[in-house]
């Protein structure tokens, strides 16, 4: 077993548009241990979603590598990667991305259909998720008939239904009120301890980020450790110094 659950090295992701190049992720590296809860914070447009997509194997970086459970997923064939995602990874998209023509329940069940991962505890697990996310009375509604927060909770249920080892969540509480946000978070944390899940979450909410083992901060494509296990917060001064030292930006890559 690899030392880290997830290990990313020097990831670069750029978007080209005619002659201008946007470097959304600029040589980011991070290591996440098994069962860790990592939060990524940062200003809007700093590249958090892009990084998360790459870590979850949904997008390919121009350079750098991502290891999950010791497997280099950037080198995997698309097909194997698909199966890998289905078996080990779960994702909550920032824009939910529910399938509009499927009901809430059907949306939740999509991952199980994709990788035939049903065992005897499955029904129980499903019930628990529905109960905790409070979507029991909306299961036969189409996404367009759900509120934004309900859609988000359906998306979370969909990500958790396969009990993934690593859950990637892009602002899973963005559309929720304080109480609901806390409930969802405590559910995520409960599941995390129950199945030893690793959780990587992008959030704007500092009160949620505070509960994390580690906090990373993204700024203009660069990733800094903001708080580590010892609970040490880097001061903004230190971060600025560090940024100045690493100010040289990645050149456009092919």
């Amino acid at each position: 077993m690899a030392k880290y659950m997830l290990e990313a090295n020097d990831i670069i992701r750029q978007f080209k548009q005619y002659d201008s190049v946007v470097t959304a992720v600029d040589r980011c590296s991070l290591k996440v241990e098994d069962g860790e809860f990592v939060a990524i914070i940062g200003a809007s447009g700093s590249g958090k979603s892009t990084l998360l997509h790459i870590l979850a194997g949904l997008d390919r970086p121009q350079s750098g590598s991502v290891y999950i459970r010791g497997t280099n997923i950037t080198a995997m064939s698309p097909d194997n990667l698909g199966v890998f995602r289905g078996n080990y990874l779960g994702i909550v998209f920032q824009k939910h991305n529910l399938i509009p023509q499927l009901t809430a329940l059907e949306n939740i069940l999509v991952p199980t259909v994709m990788c035939d991962k049903k065992d005897h505890t499955f029904q129980e697990h499903l019930k628990k998720l529905i109960l905790a996310l409070q979507i029991g009375n909306r299961l036969s509604h189409l996404p367009s008939e759900l509120s934004g927060g309900q859609q988000q909770r359906v998306a979370i249920a969909r990500a958790l239904i396969n009990r993934p080892q690593v859950l990637f969540a892009d602002e899973p509480t963005g559309n929720l009120d304080r109480r609901n946000a806390d409930e969802v978070l405590s559910l995520l944390l409960e599941l995390k301890t129950m199945i030893g899940q690793t959780l990587i979450m992008v959030t704007h909410d500092m009160s949620i980020a505070d509960k994390a083992d580690k906090i990373y901060m993204m700024d203009n494509g660069k990733l800094f450790l903001y708080k580590d296990k010892q609970g040490y917060y880097k001061t903004s001064y230190e971060l600025e110094m560090k940024a100045a030292l690493e100010s040289e930006r990645a050149k456009p890559l092919e």
């Binding site: 097909d79 698909g82 939910h96 991305n97 509009p100 023509q101 499927l102 991952p111 994709m114 396969n162």
Partner: protein, 791 residues
């Protein structure tokens, strides 16, 4: 087990979303019908052809002009243990003007393989038979049937391949439209673990179910249609089980192959990329700068802007839909050209008067009157000479014996029933007399011939051809367009007539009054050695090895639309012909074109008449080309119908692509129009937006279609002309845009371009909703809550 599960899931999905699959169903139905009709017609045509031939000829080999000895030798031949031929029929004919007889014998090989029968016959009997006399051997189309069969099989396989490729392209296009529509869905599925295998299994099951659903209707329609087509030309029809299964199998593979590649390419993309396709985003070309839409009006300029941003989509759609309309045009054009070739006048008989024969003057003229013709017998050899009675028409005045074709001979031939036209020819190949023609600089197009050191182009693929008023009459009979005056050429030896080029292609830039030069003398200055069939190459070698002297002639006429093969004629009058070639103007080659509606009896009597004539003119050799039978067989095959059927199918693809693609496209633009609606656009403005789209597509498609139609049919004409001149019969096609197919194609293109935009408007307006529903990329009425695209 899992296969069955897949199939039943696919069935359910298709039933729920029948609207989307309708178009696949129609296409697979048409493809299967095409395969089935080609295969069913192929098998029926083959058996009908054999039947027809067996009815026309119950023999493989005809031996003509045997003497007594040869005849009886063959009749009583000891064939050994296993007999390999049967004598079907024999005829005895008095040689006119003599007391002797000539015999014909009709042989059928009874070995399983006619070739081996013929070979054994050759080995055993040929030496005896061949020895003396005018003996001639004719193999019938029944004998060549087998090689014909191989050709037919090849053509059938080629046609199936063509349909296969076209079908794959069509299904690929349709499927990629569909897959594009479902990209978001595939992206989500793949995010949660779907593999290529899983996606393909689902897609394939659907295609299989669709093909299977199309099976019964398409096979029924094919067999019923073929039944009526064949009955229409009095042919018999049989149901062929193999064709049915083969066509189904082919249809399934046509369905599976494109789907495989489509899914493969989708599964290679990253899920994020696919999810991004949620709202046509993948079809938009990102603009360099934002337009200043402040002073735009809606729909007007703004919609045009949208169309421009979606140009990637638009161009793809127009290109694929219009190319099928253009393919339709080509296919119809091909069918028209094909049926034209069947109506070309072909010489049924080719007659040669061999001129190197010494005159036989002992021929008595006295008792030519009682020619006893056509005594024939059938069946067993014992009841021989069962006399058939013939009402022989006696030529009023006997032509005098001559060794070549004269006006009297011509008049005599014209007395035969069933003769439509006699084509005479007298030519000398330039290459045989080390001659050629030379064109002044700038009068030849590029390619062909060889250039001398002065840059003048020389051609040795020339037939110096004698022209008299009868030959002129023949040119007029064929209806070739003649520029200039052929009479001038006939009357004035300084003038010649020439064609536009050769190989059915325009090669010269000559006009009336231009000079051309004919090599009439040569001195060798270098030994010339070549092994080649290539005229241009030989010409080049000869130009280097010889010095030529030339005589100047003036172009008096140009024959425009005549089919010309590898060698082209230069016409000149008799004197000039003699001067150029050193030969007398003797018309030794005579073709006979028969009446197109000739009856079997007249045909038989014509054959008798010609054989009579051959008895009389001892140096006359008749070759029966059997075109009447061969063309009839070809016509029986009804290929024109097949061409038109294929054309119709190709055309039907065009509206299918338009509507399928546009309806799905506008489904994804629904939320955009919802937005306009919620910010104050009226229904009539939204209607206008759709109409603008329709008009833009309509104009664009019409222009592209016209260009494509002109280019493709032109290329086809050039191709047909360059290919068909080498066939046994020369045909030349004049280029003209086939008007009716063109108009049909244009009409279908414009109507479907416009209405494929307008129809989505009508479905949109029925259910438009002023409240923007956010992320839903297709409207609710679209949604069927169970198992959409279920996996």
């Amino acid at each position: 087990m899992s296969l069955l599960k897949n199939l039943s899931a696919a069935k359910k999905n298709i039933i729920y979303n029948y609207k989307r699959y309708l178009c696949f169903f129609v296409m697979l139905f048409l493809i299967q019908t095409l395969f089935a009709s080609v295969l069913v017609l192929y098998s029926n045509n083959n058996s009908n052809e054999l039947e027809y031939l067996e009815e026309k000829y119950n023999y493989h080999l005809q031996l003509q002009n045997l003497n007594d000895e040869q005849f009886y030798y063959l009749l009583n031949a000891e064939q050994g243990e296993v007999p390999f031929f049967e004598v079907i029929k024999g005829t005895q004919t008095n040689i006119s003007g003599t007391n002797s007889y000539r015999y014909d014998i009709y042989i059928k090989f009874i070995t399983s393989d006619v070739k081996s029968g013929y070979e054994s016959y050759k080995a055993k009997y040929y030496p005896v038979v061949e020895e003396e006399g005018d003996f001639k051997e004719l193999l019938t189309p029944l004998y060549t049937y087998e090689s014909e069969l191989a050709l037919n099989t090849f053509i059938c396989a080629l046609t199936c391949l063509f349909i296969f490729v076209c079908g794959c392209v069509i299904i690929y296009l349709l499927d990629s439209i569909m897959v594009n529509h479902y990209k978001f869905l595939y992206g989500i599925y793949m995010t949660f673990g779907a593999s290529f295998k899983k996606l393909f299994k689902t897609a394939f099951s659907e295609m299989f179910v669709l093909s299977a659903t199309a099976f019964l209707p398409s096979q029924l329609i094919t067999n019923i249609a073929c039944f009526f087509i064949l009955r229409g030309s009095a042919q018999s029809f049989r149901v062929d089980v193999l064709s049915i299964f083969l066509s189904f199998l082919l249809c399934v593979s046509v369905a599976a192959l494109p789907v495989f590649f489509n899914i493969k390419s989708v599964s290679k993309k990253t899920p994020l990329n696919l999810i991004g396709a949620v709202d046509n985003a993948n079809l938009i070309i990102s603009p360099r700068t934002s337009a200043d839409i402040m002073d735009y009006v809606f729909p007007g300029k703004l919609e045009v802007l949208s169309v421009m941003r979606f140009r990637k989509y638009g161009i793809k759609l127009v290109a694929s839909a219009v190319s099928f309309a253009a393919l339709f045009l080509c296919c119809a054009y091909l069918g028209i050209s094909y049926s034209e070739t069947l109506d070309v006048k072909r010489p049924e008989y080719t007659i040669r008067f061999s001129s190197n024969m010494t005159k036989e003057d002992e021929k008595n003229d006295e008792d030519g009157a009682d020619m006893n013709d056509g005594s024939s017998f059938m069946g067993p050899i014992d009841d021989i000479f069962e006399n058939g009675d013939e009402n022989e028409t006696e030529p009023e005045q006997k032509p005098t014996y001559d060794f070549t074709y004269t006006d009297e001979v011509r008049d005599y031939f014209y007395t035969f029933d069933g003769v439509e036209k006699i084509i005479k020819d007298c030519h000398t190949d330039a290459i045989d007399i080390n001659s050629h023609i030379k064109l002044p600089k700038g009068k030849a197009k590029l390619f062909g011939g060889a250039e001398n050191e002065n840059g003048e182009r020389c051609y040795n693929n020339v037939k110096f051809t004698a022209l008299d008023s009868e030959v002129k009459d023949i040119i007029e009979y064929y209806g070739y367009e003649v520029e200039g005056d052929l009479d001038k050429v006939i009357n004035d030896g300084a003038y010649v007539a020439i064609t536009y080029g050769y190989g059915n292609m325009s090669k010269f830039k000559l006009s009336i009054g231009d000079k051309i030069y004919i090599a009439t003398g040569s001195t060798q200055n270098k030994s010339a050695q070549y092994i080649s069939n290539d005229y241009s190459y030989i010409m080049g070698v000869l130009l280097e090895s010889y010095d030529y002297t030339y005589t100047e002639y003036t172009v008096g006429a140009i024959i425009k639309d005549m089919p010309v093969g590898e060698e082209f004629p230069v016409y000149m009058n008799g004197d000039t012909y003699a001067a150029v070639t050193g030969n007398d103007m003797l018309f030794t080659d005579v073709d006979i074109i028969i009446d197109s509606d000739i009856t079997d009896e007249t045909y038989a009597s014509l054959e008798r008449d010609l054989r009579h004539a051959a008895d009389y003119y001892t140096n006359m050799v008749i070759q029966n080309n059997d075109y009447k039978t061969l063309i009839q067989i070809e016509k029986n095959k009804n290929y024109l119908n097949v061409y038109m059927f294929v054309a119709a199918v190709l055309l039907s693809v065009s509206p299918l692509l338009w509507f399928f693609s546009q309806i799905l496209f506008y489904l994804k633009r629904r939320s955009e129009f919802d937005m306009y609606f919620s910010f104050g656009a009226s229904k009539s403005k939204i209607k206008k937006a759709f109409i603008i789209d329709g008009i833009v597509f309509c104009i664009f498609a019409a222009v592209v279609y016209t260009l494509l139609a002109i280019i493709m049919s032109m290329l086809l004409t050039v191709f047909l002309n360059s290919q068909l001149y080498s066939a046994s019969t020369l045909v030349k096609f004049e280029y003209s845009l086939p008007a009716i197919p063109y108009v049909i194609g244009l009409f279908v293109t414009c109507v479907s371009a416009f209405f494929s935009s307008y129809v989505p408007y009508m479905t949109y307006i029925k259910s438009c909703h002023p409240i923007f529903t956010g992320n839903s990329f297709d409207g609710k009425q679209e949604i069927i809550s169970e198992g959409e695209k279920g996996i």
